[in-house]
Symmetry: none
Subunit: 419 residues, 2 copies
């Protein structure tokens, strides 16, 4: 079963809102084992909505169209569907009564324009509205189908789950299709996309040769590292979950400790888990990152049990006077070590992590933009400093610096715990 | 000129990432006066990318296709375009050299797979890569055009602005299309969408009655306040700019000092301008915001001339011991004032700004989640504290706290300077 998603609304084309409905629907269809090969967005124009629907029906077995069911004159999805079905719109008095009831329950009179929401293409089945005034529609087009849903996300989601998904399942059963598609994202840091691709190449080739189930794909998401998406098809959810589990183990065996988490896990949650296991508290000294590392860490629930705080030592004098960094260049190994030790001392923590560097565009202390030094002081071991050369403009250097510093801490905590 | 956007990536169809590229491109095309009637998203499958491109070319004058230019085996946008053009791919040795240079500048060898990124459909013009390894492509298809851009947002945006937009402008000039649509966004803080709507209602009615040029629209963008978008159509850029200028003045007259900036101006850049005018230096003490205020401020170019730094006093003990906050509840007016004074003293600045509060989900010091106290110490005046009650979950409370604190500082600096 191939279902295309069509999102209706000029505001989507103009970029005034991001199309989160299509993302949500795409995920739900995949989880239900329905293929969705194309999404479209189209403005509030009847001829173009008709063209988008016809294009979608030609490419697949059906369409979920989302938006354009409101009461105003630019809500014309109903008219477009009727044109595609070659039928007239017929006002459904039961729906009118239900809309009027919604208004009167709020002590208001139904405006006349809301009557339009009760117009149904002849031959279509309404999906009763429960959260808003717009009913949905199940519209047969030959042996294919158009599902129309409101654009308000929570109304759309409720109606999809209550009415569209069961109808899709029924159609798939008739067509003899069953099964589910699930996926998991394994997150890595420290490898280029091509470097990671080379590590995984033997596994990808083996999967391709073995029928491409599960599949592996690489996703470069910019600042947060390279992701490996594993997708598995199976007859039921437990079987699919077992395939993901086995494949994740294979990926981890090839990629090693470059993997810092899966799905919703983040670099900061990985660090938090290791600090909590060891009972360590953490203090920061941030210069080039200006508070970014701290802001990431406090997003982890329960951060107050291991995070003491930090010093944003943006001016050099603050490094010397507050953190006790010796006079001299502040983008240096010596300064980064002193910052980490200073943060640990001033904020009374077990672990000190420091970041100093040059975000650019100008040089500093004779070091090029993108030069960043991470300092780290853990337990009784001597403090250390690692020099990085990071690409990009000011903002990217800063973002890369923050995640690089957290990754260094993660690796050292892993090694210290012999995990 | 009608340009369709095609976003390539199975992760878009599966809802694993939202398609922010299409939203950004849609806005840029609208600003340039280019119609964009349809967007499509399609997975990493050559036949389907070809179908999406042919559909788009049939409906319009050209396509911006985004994504699928990476080095891995599922990056097949180049192959799909060559199929649409009915030409072979030819490896461009100048591009190979440039990619190899990018790797060697980071001290690494170019993996063989990156060579694929130098494959160009015969007859297409590469757009030189500057931020990543993937070049873009300008591909003529009859008298229409396919622009291929990488999917990484900052690479895509840089390449669109540098190469695609000028090429589109040239084509529009040849087609005899003139006129320009420009818009300006006036940013406000401290009003609800309906409150702002009431202030602007007389102006919006006058514009509607006068032919709707310029137009005014309100955009609620979540954390960064409510925006007023002014859009003007005119025969040339200077005429359109003059219309924007006049309308911005009208909007400012109605909305007053709730306006903190226009277009790329941010709350932090507004604060930076005022601090620089007064020759003041700033120090922060952040608890609930955990470094977010500092991270915003260091994004302003030249921050080092007025930003000393901050203390992220996440643990209560850090507030007492480092900042000298007296014992007692730390989410209080007294604590916020003491934090602001302590930050100013410890970091030797003229102005101290502090944020303490409860992000939730639990209460703290008997105060509900969303309770935030901003402390401020400027010059010789007594320090002050303002209590806010902010909506949302942990992350939103933190984000609102950061911008609210900066807005308070902005208003006090405005008042102190009698501006």
């Amino acid at each position: 079963m191939r279902i295309e998603i069509v999102a209706v609304g000029t505001e989507l084309l103009l970029g005034q809102i991001a199309d989160t409905n299509s993302a949500w629907l795409g995920e739900q269809l995949a989880l239900a084992g329905v293929d969705s090969h194309f999404h479209q967005a189209v403005g509030d124009n009847q001829a173009r909505i008709v063209l988008a629907l016809r294009t979608a029906l030609a490419r697949g077995d059906g369409v979920v169209v989302c938006g354009g069911l409101g009461p105003t004159h630019d809500d014309i999805t109903r008219e477009a569907i009727a044109e595609v079905m070659h039928v007239p719109l017929v006002r459904d008095e039961a729906i009118v009564e239900r809309i009027a009831g919604l208004f009167s329950s709020r002590g208001r009179e139904m405006p006349a324009s809301n009557g339009r929401q009760a117009d149904v293409p002849a031959g279509a089945e309404p999906i009763a509205q429960q959260l808003g005034t717009a009913p949905g529609l199940v519209c047969p087009v030959g042996n294919k189908v158009v599902y129309a849903l409101p654009g308000v996300p929570y109304e759309m989601q409720e109606m999809f789950t209550r009415a569209v998904l069961p109808d899709l399942r029924r159609r798939m059963g008739q067509a003899g299709e069953t099964g589910t598609i699930v996926s998991r994202v394994v997150k890595t840091w420290g490898l280029s996309e091509s470097g990671l691709g080379e590590l995984l190449a033997p596994r990808i080739e083996a999967l391709d040769a073995g029928g491409s189930n599960p599949t592996i794909a690489l996703l470069a998401s910019g600042i947060e590292g390279i992701k490996v998406r594993i997708t598995a098809k199976a007859t039921d959810a437990p079987a699919a979950a077992a395939m993901l589990e086995a494949e994740e183990a294979d990926v981890r065996a090839l990629v090693g400790d470059h993997v810092f988490g899966v799905d919703d896990e983040t670099m900061e949650s990985a660090v938090a888990t290791l600090l909590s296991l060891d009972g360590h508290s953490l203090a920061l000294a941030e210069s080039v990152t200006g508070g970014l590392v701290a802001a990431r860490l406090v997003n982890v629930p329960g951060a107050s049990s291991w995070f003491r705080g930090g010093v944003v030592s943006y001016a050099s004098a603050v490094k010397h006077e507050v953190l006790g960094v010796p006079e001299g260049p502040v983008v240096s190994e010596a300064a980064a070590r002193a910052m980490a030790e200073g943060a640990r001392r001033v904020l009374q923590a077990d672990v000190g992590l420091a970041v100093t560097g040059v975000a650019g565009p100008e040089e500093q202390d004779g070091r090029r933009p993108g030069t960043v030094v991470v300092g780290l002081a853990i337990g009784e071991a001597p403090s250390e400093a690692v020099v990085l050369h990071l690409p990009g403009d000011r903002d990217r250097v800063r973002q890369y610096s923050a995640i690089s510093a957290l990754d260094l801490l993660r690796r050292r905590l892993l090694a210290a715990g012999e995990r």
